[in-house]
Symmetry: C2
Subunit: 436 residues, 2 copies
């Protein structure tokens, strides 16, 4: 059987899982792939006595792996974007194929890496970089290759989804659940990457490039976190038939491409609204296939290893193929990428949930609806509550608008906030119907 | 750009969709595939004046397409298993690659077709044969190639799922909804294939082979339809926290492989329990990745065409590849298929929902529980109802058992049915937790 020699850099959670699954399922993997995948060289900067690496050569300098003339494929699992980028570019220069789980590396430096790989005729596979074990990259790039992709929306950060699920199910506050997620090891000590949507934006940028054939443009993704979501807003959302999820949304319009990560009200009858806890899911709308959804574990040792190994098998299969018959890195052939602009958030279109605190007196709703009507924005739903306590003089007023360009909504909200019976700021959350 | 010439046999719903999507999305498809996919020959036994075939050569004898020396790929969309089999084997003998949407053909004659294709070194792709537009075959065969697949469960017949969804949502009877489904064109005039589970069994047999690396064994699949499901049982299922779905279930155990299509109670909190109407979904449990779910349109012109075209692109990419580097037809290399036996239904293991009509008198539950206890079967849930009318002398008694080998349950049910205070037959529906 055809041996394929693999160098593995980084023996953290995913690296250890990769070794473990490759060993445990060796029979299945070789029966499927028709080749004998051998990890022959490990690059590991610090010793990890907990992992049995058997007789595999270990190098403390990971660049020794990139220089190893024996290996066909280098698997980059060290994370980060500085050393990882240098390692990957060095390995490519040495003619190695690359498998990586590094979303930040691909989102921020993918264009450069793919150009270098294309020049050397080598493959770069990164299924594990988005949504862990879910084969979403393969689905978009190959499974839906007949479609114009119209939009996609994903729950692509498990920590954020865990926090929102707990807040909703148990009526607990954001800070409280975040502390628990940190204790459980779901959230890092510095949770910014997860809760502010940076991790999700890395993944969204990759998905948008695959879907629409545009270069990776991480700096143009709009990102809004979940730290300001309250159980109060969750309650109103439920009352209106919605659930609040932290979504990555990418949409192709005539004007360009929207790429945005933000809390979103979605109809609770949608399957994706029922994806709970740390699980991930991506909903993709193709013009021919309609809506399709892909669900599974978005992180973790073995789920991520599942995608790393699937990539190794894919790359092993095309080791001898001529480059023009390989699946292109970003789904579209290198010369065929589109220059469709990524739209600034002001130019994107969404429906909106607006919660305002207003004086409890006659005429308030009338004044507010006049402003919306003048701007041509229609109001799709309203919740107007009685005072909860006798001595309160303000009441909450909740509105859901139709779809409107964001700069127009900004003007209207500013006008409303300037009214003397409205207490600024108005709470705003985008609403997506995700209708097929 | 590399031209790939395709012959298309059959211009029904899917064939027409394939022509339409290939024309509409030509720019995207060639930018992704790097090749120019041209339908150069159509085999169409009867003229269809509604479809514009432009300047494409049309043959009334579809075997002229299989003999056309110009074409690289033959797309079989004529359906059925007799002429379709002869057409596909003829095309393979002529060195053509095959793309087909024909589940019956693959499930019943796939072993022979793959052997012939393997001998000629050509590809046979059949993504459209299972779950329409959902790239489920690609997901199992490539995306999850690192995993031991433990089990899978799918809603893989849209007509059946539409009927069950309507029955539940509107409290309507099976026969009533079936008539509506026929009027809407979802169900055929002879609905046997859909409602008795034969169509689902064709798809399940294919999925089981891909998941477990066994030859296709359609004759060994167990099939039970949905025509006996009542709104009464649906109500009790809901009360117990379940929903009734018509599932195809395949499971690998130490004893062999279970392949069964039957109505199933599944916990309503599972995502797949919330797949409604004509939509399809397949839940796959891999040992490394955990549970993953794939959802989308399981039928229809353009969704199915989406998979047909994705297969054409895949096959076009590997036209020049050496056979040992291609993805194997059934996920495992031809020489590596397992001889694990398919278990007869009596040897399979499930939990069970049992509804019995019993005399309303003291001691009944005690006698029945003694029988279960003696057989070592535990009862996980009970609903015992009061009489609805004063003058009734019988009451319904509903039990959910733990997981038990079916032959053991058969003995216990026979014993219960022989009791003089139980009115045979006992209604039985299998229960699957589908726990990750």
């Amino acid at each position: 059987m055809n041996p394929v020699k693999v160098g593995l850099c980084g023996l953290g959670t995913v690296g250890a899982g990769t070794l473990k699954v490759l060993a445990r399922n060796a029979a299945e993997i070789s029966a499927r792939s028709g080749c004998d995948i051998q990890i022959t060289h490990i690059g590991q900067r610090r010793e990890n006595p907990d992992i049995d690496t058997g007789t595999i050569t270990i190098s403390r300098d990971i660049f020794d792996v990139a220089a190893d003339p024996e290996i066909d494929i280098l698997v980059e699992l060290i994370g980060g974007t500085t050393v990882a980028k240098e390692l990957v570019l060095t390995a490519i220069a040495n003619g190695k194929h690359i498998v990586t789980a590094n979303k930040a590396l691909i989102a921020e430096h993918g264009n450069e890496i793919f150009a270098a790989a294309n020049a050397k005729g080598v493959n770069v596979a990164f299924e594990a970089a988005v949504a862990g074990g879910i084969p979403i990259i393969k689905a978009i790039r190959e499974g839906l290759s007949a479609n114009k992709i119209e939009w996609l929306a994903g729950i692509i950060n498990g920590t954020g989804n865990f926090i929102l699920t707990e807040m909703r199910d148990k009526g607990r506050d954001f800070a409280d659940v975040l502390a628990q997620a940190q204790a459980l090891g779901y959230a890092e000590a510095d949770p910014t990457f997860d809760v502010e949507g940076i991790d999700a934006a890395h993944k969204l940028v990759i998905l948008a490039s695959l879907a629409f054939g545009i270069p990776l443009q991480f700096d143009k993704a709009f990102t809004e976190g979940i730290s300001k979501i309250t159980t109060e807003d969750m309650g109103y959302a439920e009352e209106l038939g919605y659930r609040i999820k932290h979504l990555g949304v990418a949409r192709k319009t005539e004007q360009g491409v929207e790429m945005r990560v933000h809390p979103t009200l979605i109809p609770k009858k949608r399957l994706i609204a029922n994806v709970n806890g740390v699980m991930n899911a991506v909903l993709v709308k193709g013009d021919a296939v309609g809506p399709t959804l892909y669900y599974g574990a978005g992180a973790g040792s073995e789920p991520t290893a599942s995608s790393v190994i699937a990539d190794i098998v894919d790359v092993a299969r095309t080791l001898t193929a001529d480059p023009e018959h390989k699946v292109p890195y970003l789904s579209y052939q290198q010369g065929e990428l589109s220059n469709a602009p990524v739209l600034p958030i002001e130019e994107t279109v969404s429906a909106h949930y607006l919660r305002m605190t207003v004086d409890d007196k006659p005429g308030v709703m009338n004044e507010i609806s006049k402003i919306f009507a003048a701007a041509g924005i229609s109001i799709e739903a309203i919740i107007q509550k009685e005072q909860e306590e006798e001595d309160e003089t303000t009441v909450p007023l909740i509105l859901v608008t139709n779809r409107v360009i964001e700069k127009q909504l900004n003007r209207v909200v500013a006008e409303i906030e300037s009214l003397d019976f409205v207490y600024a700021p108005v709470t705003r959350i985008r609403v997506e119907s995700l209708a097929g």
